[in-house]
Each structure stands twice: as structure tokens, then as C-alpha cells.
Amino acid sequence: MATNTQESSRQVDRRSLPLDLLLDMYRRMVTIRRFEETVYDVYSRGIMPGLAHLYTGMEAVAVGVCMTLRKQDNITSTHRGHGHLLAKGGDPRRMFAELLGKATGYNRGKGGSMHIVDMSLGILGANGIVGGGLGIATGAALSAKLMNEDRISVAFFGDGALNEGLFYEAANMASLWKLPVVYVMENNHYGEYTTTAKSTAGTGPARAEAMAIPATTVDGNDVLAVYEAVTRATGRARAGEGPSFVECVTYRWRGHHMGDQGDTYGYRTQEEIESWKKKCPILRLRTYLIGEGLTGEDTLRQIDSEAQQRIDEAVEYAKTSPYPDPSEVFEHVYA
């Protein structure tokens, strides 16, 4: 979370970004990828309960956004939350333990994939309700303003969530009250099995602009483009200029959730998936780093293997952790 340096200037020139920032982006994206693909494996072997919505292919969005944030900044995430949490600095061990319903998990096994929270990192939660976090992120921005605290909010949400009424109610207030919040729409072209074209008249950015919220669309597979656009948006937020809206166009490689992996349900073609795999966001950053001569294969391979190791450890940690005590079922209902 050391990227506070951009705060003064809102224009980012990708060529001026420090190497450690770029490598950190790479590291986080790879960590997400390894995490998700490991979830895929573990789930496929039947040792993971419940639902899991994988972020594979969308890594550049979470990382491009969260690298503009500081520890005290808040995010709200979605049902497809692993990437956001890891990008904001979440601990893969406690995440994996949560996915297995263990007492060492972030939520002591009570939340599972869709409800992980880390208040110390400003992560206000994944959410099982599509669009459910939009009010929360906006409210966190309101409290920052009211209590004069130096923090901003980012709400991640999907192209499908754009059609829930809550967005308009919350964003309207954010616009009226100039709240420090950035709405990041992850347009991966589908909400479950329904294409954006069939679910959405008009576009996200147009809808935001109609509420006087500046909006932009970026290539969500280009982590630097995301970083650039969101830096402008967070800059506005930090300067008290109000909310912004950033649409990131991307794609999920895996099924909507683990239950339907491999099955296209007739809603998309294998070719489409393959064509997007060619636009892999990690490969793209890799190629940039090497192509520009900023780093070498070895460094990146080192990062890759460290990431894999970190995830393997996380799995091991999770597997060997205890289940919560039965008595915990009645704990934490009230504060």
C-alpha cells in the first residue's frame, strides 16, 4: 500500500511509474491468479464447501484499483471477491481458511467466500447480494466526510449489479454531497449467463454521467490503464471533488461459479473464452515489463514461484486448521 505518492498529481504517465510499484502490481496479479486457480483445484477435488466465484482473468481491475489506495481507504467487494481482497492486501492464509470454514479464517468460518471482511485493511466486505455493497461504500465515504477522516471508498460491482436500483439511490447522494467514493464497474460482459446487451440498456458511464458523476471506460485487462484512470478518480475523491465512475472492460475465464465450470450453458462460446485468454492481463504486464526492459524473466519467475508458494502455504494452513467450536454458532449475533 505504498503508492501514496501519486496523490498530488492525478495524471499518471506509465513510463514514470517506479519499478517496485510495477513489480508489486505483477506480484498481486499473480497472487490472485494462483489463489483462484488453486481454489479451482481444491474445489474440484470436493474438499471445499459452498459457492466460489473465481476472478481469473480479471486481475488487472482489482490490482489497478487497489494500488491507488492506502491502507485506511475502504473498499466494498462482491460475490466475486477474492481478487479485491488480495489486491487490497488480504492474507491468503486467512482467506483460504475461511473458504474451508475453519476457525482461523477471517470470519472464523462464519462467512465463507462471499463475506470476508478485514477491517484493519479497510475491506468492508464481499457481499452475497448483487449490488449490496454500493450503499456501504458510499456510507463509508459519508462517514469519512462527516468525521473529517482522511480516507476514501471504492465500490466494486459488476455489469449485472448496474441494474439494481440501489446504485442510483446511493450514487445520487454521493454526487449531491460530493462524497469521496469511486464506483468501479467490472464489465465482464455477463451477469451469470446473461449478456450485458440483454440486461442493460445504455451504458454504465452514461448512467453515472446522468447523475453528474464523471465517468470513463478503460481496458480492464491493462492494469496500467486501470491504475491511470482510477488515480484520477481517487484524486478527485481525495480533493473533495466528489465521486467518479470507472468502467473496466474485462472477462472472466471460468464459469460464473465453481458449479458451472466448463459448462457454457449456451451463453458463450469456447472461442470467445479463448480469445479473451489471449488478452491475459498478467501476460500483458509481463510483456510490457520485459519489452520495455524494465526487468528480466528471472525476476518475474521468482515472483511467480513465491506467489505459488504463498498460496500453497495458505492451503496447507487452511487444511490443518481446526473447525470452529460448535458453541460459536450462537456467538456474534449481537455486539
Binding site: 470454514g101 468460518g109 452475497g128 441494474n163 450453458y265 454458532v329
Partner: protein, 328 residues
């Protein structure tokens, strides 16, 4: 009933009821998230879009309030919409449209209009889906005058009750337990209906009555089997329609056995078990040998961890245990 039957799942029974009703009545249409092309996330509507086309089996944006709102308007103007809200938890997003519009329009207008619509939704815990995908909020709907509330527990009832719900001229909430979609049993073929408001006695005993709803039928039957071995003879009765409630059948059974346990998968407090217990103790008071007991889901948001989640759902063990206590 001498109708031909076949063995099938609740999922198939619902699909069959929808298909047959849509063939019968052109005014019926379905709307919901991913019900068409994908056949629904629980595959309940599989194949229907193929037969009836995308107009009558309509994939919607993710917008629960809007979906129900459109259904209310369509129902008022002569269509007969059937809405799927994927998880019962998400009906909270449409509460205003359900409660303030659909349920009240007939009364507020003194009968000038009717709102013949069905909302199907998946209830129940057990899928490790955590607190926002596991609720059984039927008590909410039962509390609202103007709504009818149906909870099938067998394939035959799933078919027969849904057909009645579709033919009813009121808004009817049909809550399907997500763990039961694969439950097998006989499905009567053809035009089989089960009237709304009629309980069903699944097992007749003399010592105690278990009144149970939806998937709670199965642990209740299991508990009854176990108790039978111990010489305790238990009636198991499923109201099937929770609102309006077949009070007479429930009270009669209470009078016969003198001991009643009510089992339901909604949160226990301020839930369906309370209403049934309150009515039974009032109407059968002088016949009761013990207080009416209740067993609902634990009063906690449903936890994800399987080891915890299982503790929140009423079990055969608990049911048998309570009946044993009552026999003392």
C-alpha cells in the same frame, strides 16, 4: 386418487406443473434471472424457453423490485405472471412491491382489480451458501394479509400446489426448499392439483403430533420412525399451505394426541412455529397434556462453516428428543 404416477424429483414436478399450465393458459408467462437460456440456477425451468420462447420465458436484468413490480402491473391487466426470485433472501429487495402493492391492491380497491401472480423462490439452509443465501422468510409473507403462502414438501405436492397457486386469483408465494429439488417421489401425471389451505397427514399416531413444514417433513418422519421403535406413536402432519392455515386439521390432531411439536426451518423466534403453537394451545388447550413445543432454525444468521450450519437446522435427533421430553 387413481391417476397414473411416475417417480420423479421435486425439480421435475415443478417443471411439469409450469409446462402444463403454460400449455393450458396463454396468459401465463415466466420471468426471472437466468430462468430462460440457462434454465434457472437450480434448473427448475429447464427446457421451458425452448418450448414457449423468450417472450413467455423471460430472462430479466438483476432487478428484483422491478421484476415483481412489472409482474404486479401485468397481473392487474390480465396476464398471469410467474416470477422466480432465485433465493428467498433476495425477496427482501422486492418487499415493497410484494407487501404494499401485490398484497393490498385488491383490498384497497374493494375488489376492482385482482393480482393473479405467483412468486417462486428458493428457501432453506444446508447448501453452505451462508447468511445471505440460506434464509426461510416465509413467516414474513404469512404475516401479510392478501398473500397466500405455500411450502411443498413432496414432488406430488410441489406439482399439485403449484398448479393451484397458478390458478389462484391472488398473489401466491411458493417457497421451495433448495435442498429438496432432488427429492424423489411419485408425481401424478396430468392435471393434478392440491387445493390451497389443506394440510396433509403423512403418518397417523396417537401419542404426539409433529406439525412440520417443507423439508422438515423428512427429519420429522425419521424421528417418528425412531420413536415408533420406542413405542411412541407419532402423527406427522404438514400444513402445506401456511397461509391460509388448515387450523382445523392441526387442532384436531392436537386434540387427538394431546402433545404437539411444531417444526419449521424459519428462524424460531417470531416465526411460523409461534403462530401455529399459539393457535393450537388456544383451540386445544383443554386437551393438551403438555405445552405446545416449537423447533425452528436457530436464531442466528446462517453460518457458512458446515460444522456450524448443520447445528442451525432442526434435526431428527432434536425432534425425537423433544417428543421424548414431552412424553415424560
Amino acid at each position: 386418487m387413481s391417476m397414473p404416477e411416475r417417480i420423479g424429483t421435486i425439480r421435475e414436478a415443478i417443471n411439469e406443473a409450469l409446462r402444463e399450465e403454460m400449455r393450458r393458459d396463454e396468459r401465463i408467462f415466466l420471468m426471472g434471472e437466468d430462468i430462460g437460456l440457462a434454465g434457472g440456477v437450480f434448473k427448475v425451468t429447464a427446457g421451458l424457453q425452448e418450448e414457449f420462447g423468450p417472450e413467455r420465458v423471460r430472462d430479466t436484468p438483476i432487478a428484483e423490485a422491478g421484476i415483481v413490480g412489472l409482474a404486479v402491473g401485468a397481473a392487474m391487466t390480465g396476464a398471469r405472471p410467474i416470477v422466480e426470485i432465485m433465493f428467498n433472501d433476495f425477496t427482501t429487495l422486492a418487499s415493497d412491491q410484494i407487501v404494499n402493492q401485490a398484497a393490498k391492491l385488491r383490498y384497497m380497491t374493494a375488489g376492482q382489480c385482482k393480482v393473479p401472480m405467483v412468486i417462486r423462490t428458493g428457501m432453506g439452509a444446508g447448501r453452505r451458501a451462508a447468511a445471505q443465501h440460506s434464509q426461510s422468510l416465509h413467516a414474513w409473507f404469512c404475516h401479510i394479509p392478501g398473500l397466500k403462502v405455500v411450502l411443498p414438501s413432496t414432488p406430488a405436492d410441489a406439482k399439485g400446489l403449484l398448479k393451484s397457486a397458478i390458478r389462484d386469483d391472488n398473489p401466491v408465494m411458493v417457497l421451495e426448499d433448495k435442498m429438496m429439488y432432488g427429492q424423489e417421489g411419485p408425481i401424478p401425471e396430468g392435471d393434478y392439483t392440491v387445493p390451497l389451505g389443506q394440510a396433509k397427514i403423512h403418518r397417523k399416531g396417537t401419542d404426539a403430533t409433529v406439525i412440520c413444514t417443507s423439508s422438515m417433513l423428512y427429519p420429522s418422519l425419521e424421528a417418528a420412525e425412531r420413536l415408533a421403535e420406542e413405542g411412541v406413536d407419532v402423527t406427522v402432519i404438514d400444513p402445506r399451505t401456511i397461509s391460509p392455515l388448515d387450523e382445523e386439521a392441526l387442532v384436531n390432531s392436537a386434540v387427538e394426541t394431546g402433545r404437539v411439536l411444531v417444526v419449521d426451518e424459519g428462524y424460531e423466534s417470531f416465526g411460523v412455529t409461534a403462530e401455529i403453537a399459539a393457535r393450537v394451545q388456544e383451540k386445544a388447550f383443554y386437551y393438551l397434556d403438555a405445552p405446545v413445543r416449537r423447533l425452528g432454525a436457530a436464531d442466528v444468521p446462517v453460518p457458512f462453516a458446515p460444522s456450524l450450519e448443520d447445528l442451525t437446522i432442526p434435526s431428527a435427533d432434536q425432534i425425537a428428543g423433544i417428543i421424548r421430553e414431552m412424553m415424560e
